[in-house]
Assembly symmetry: C2
Homo-oligomer: 412 residues x 2
């Protein structure tokens, strides 16, 4: 079996792609703002589609809006090895998160096409819809693996209105989403390159982090319900102020995790006050809660503890509480086969690779139950989900070559 | 001097007016939603203007959008006694707040006109623009007394965009606002009927509360500035989470007032999280703060203590802080002359009246520095700035007759 160990991506072309894509939705702070199906995101998708066609690859789009470059480099009916990531960003995000993985996948396909290789799998460079969760979270990849039923779509974490508007803007329909489901027999595996979004690789002095497990993530909308009253005439002691319950929960949730759930994290990403006037005691506060744990038991334990805490704070401040679970993604082990391919390819490229868990969610966790899924990180600094996000270009090139080499190992 | 002690309002017409006005912007919960220059508020204004014309009164509108019914019941050049309140409501507010005072004033003018009385002052039933502060707060009354200069309009507490859009919707211009200023020599005084918005009258078993002082009110926008980071990959201990500073301040501000500022109140009416995603550590939280005190020294002391607290919590959570003062209205003493007229008129109507301070702000506080200003409350229950706000109709009738009788005393 020839794994074509000397094949490399075209660094000039890869760099041009990166700069062109980073200019779409560029923000003054140096990042990009491309929430799912925003004008900038739709523009980035159109740009990607053009590159696919210009490269002579086949453009495929499914009912979930996942779109991809397909290269039939194996016989008809051969399974396909997916390489990819996502083009959407969090609001006011960075240039590397997601974009790098899609571009490296596209470039890998171009190189394999130019080399005229014949492999055991076809290759597909895919951009998954709404990884970041502006609308739903891992939407495209979960639809592709058939993990979503219609009732799952009832409470998108970005709200129903945004969900419907977004689909409409992209020319998608809710009914059509489910048609994105693929037959697992056709999937040879999935590989994803991503920036690390933490500082562990830097601290370890390693070039590559091979992901062992992607942490489980739960998200809830907690609504603290008090009573809207006049903020001048209602004595403090007589108020049922929803903002106090939300504030107390926010502080206590952090302390709970620090004290009792080492290695886990919790985030209160947003609070919305109603009616939201200077001179009205908040009658209702909606709080967006997310929490993460690397194993399923801990995830469930953390979920229960946070709900108990929310109930206790509601009672203490004489408030009502509504808790709506918006998602619970179990932790996902990455495939030993894929991990081995990445480690071996890294050795071939003389890149120091270490095993790492992923605190961030990724499309690879959707694919993991269905096919050998793997992912690896390159070092990044300056924060993540932030315009300050930064990966050194040498590391980006290493990552793209490693994606190509690991894919060739899996597909040969 | 004849004070026409037997003159009464027309209870049927007053009731019809109340029901017609309460239907404009009516909410399912039983209140009204008429924020300044919203479609419902503009509709209420148009309704008022029609009533003025149908009553044969003169409709006057000034550059601030204050509009009024004028009755020239004294000689030309006689000063005018203003009676009034406001037709705007807080978002999702009640039917009585403001509306009752405007309707009683209108009805008083109708009755005086029908009786063909000749008084020492002309009468004017006025609806002041934006009392509640959707855009600015006491906007119309402060412009009428000349308390606002162009630089005051730079930071309206509802934001510049809403301010500009609102003026445009009402056909007003920022330059025109200042033309609403009146010569104090032309003002004989101001009287306002309002619901109490607290339960002190009920507890005292009294029918009328004669306001002694309107508390001072300060409002600030506090911005806690941290760093937006990935909520999965950034360890809790390494975060600079703006939401934690806002939460800690919210709880501590309440405790500060309870411990050290008896009789005062504080409210965190809204918080806005940026970027506001489930999976991003809040990088910035804007917090809307309001506080009230009955005397100026305490108001200043409370302001300083709250700012110190915000700075301390920012430092503790490693955040930046921006504090923007949006308003500081000093406490306003009501005129002894007006108080006496109300007490005497209440005695004439056999209504039990007690002196009270007002924890809520009112247009009367704008007028107080310029002319004898007075206001009085009727009992109300069910909260305030809320659709549950409720005054018994007998009390409303008593209030309207008291406004008429007190006005006749001041104008005779």
């Amino acid at each position: 079996m020839d794994t074509h160990p000397n094949l490399r991506i075209n660094p000039h072309r890869f760099r041009q792609d990166f700069l062109a894509l980073a200019a779409i939705g560029a923000t003054p702070a140096g990042g990009v703002d491309r929430p799912t199906f925003s004008p900038a995101h739709l523009q980035a998708r159109a740009w990607f589609a053009r590159q696919v066609k210009e490269a002579g690859l086949e453009l495929r789009v499914d009912g979930a809006g996942n779109h991809s470059a397909f290269l039939g480099c194996a016989g008809p009916g051969a399974p396909v090895l997916l390489l990819g990531s996502h083009l959407d960003s969090v609001p006011n995000g960075g240039r590397f998160d997601g974009a790098l993985g899609v571009l490296a996948a596209l470039e890998a396909l171009r190189v394999v096409k130019e080399a005229g290789l014949s492999l055991k799998c076809s290759l597909e460079a895919i951009d998954f819809t709404d990884e970041e969760g502006t609308l739903f979270g891992l939407l495209g990849s979960r639809l592709l693996v058939g993990a979503l039923e219609p009732h799952h779509l009832a409470h998108p974490r970005g709200g129903r209105a945004a969900f419907e508007t977004g689909l409409q803007r992209a020319g998608l329909s809710e009914a059509g989403l489910l048609s994105a489901r693929r037959d697992p027999a056709g999937l040879a595996g999935y590989l994803e390159l991503h920036i690390e979004q933490s500082s562990r690789l830097q601290q370890a002095g390693a070039s590559i982090g091979v992901v062992t497990v992607i942490v489980g993530i739960g998200s809830y909308r907690l609504t603290f319900i008090g009573q809207a009253d006049h903020a001048g005439t209602t004595p403090l002691a007589e108020r049922r102020d929803a903002g106090l319950g939300a504030a107390a929960f926010t502080l206590a949730a952090r302390q709970l995790v620090l004290d009792s759930f080492p290695g886990c994290v919790v985030n209160v990403g947003s609070q919305r006050f109603h009616p939201g006037s200077f001179n009205i005691v908040p009658g209702r506060v909606e709080l967006d809660l997310e929490f993460r744990a690397a194993d399923l038991d801990t995830l469930h334990g953390l979920e229960a503890a946070l709900l108990e805490l929310a109930a206790a704070e509601s009672a203490r401040w004489e408030l009502g509480l509504e808790a709506l679970r918006l998602g619970l993604h179990p932790p996902a082990e990455m495939s030993p086969l894929a991990r081995q391919a990445v480690f071996q390819a890294a050795a071939g490229l003389e890149l120091a690779a270490v095993p790492l868990s992923s605190g961030a969610g990724h499309d690879a966790q959707s694919l993991a139950p269905l096919c050998p899924a793997g992912m690896f990180f390159i070092p990044s600094t300056g924060g993540s989900h932030s315009p300050r996000e930064l990966a050194f270009w040498d590391d980006c090139l290493n990552g793209a070559n490693l994606l190509l080499q690991a894919a060739l190992r899996l597909a040969s």
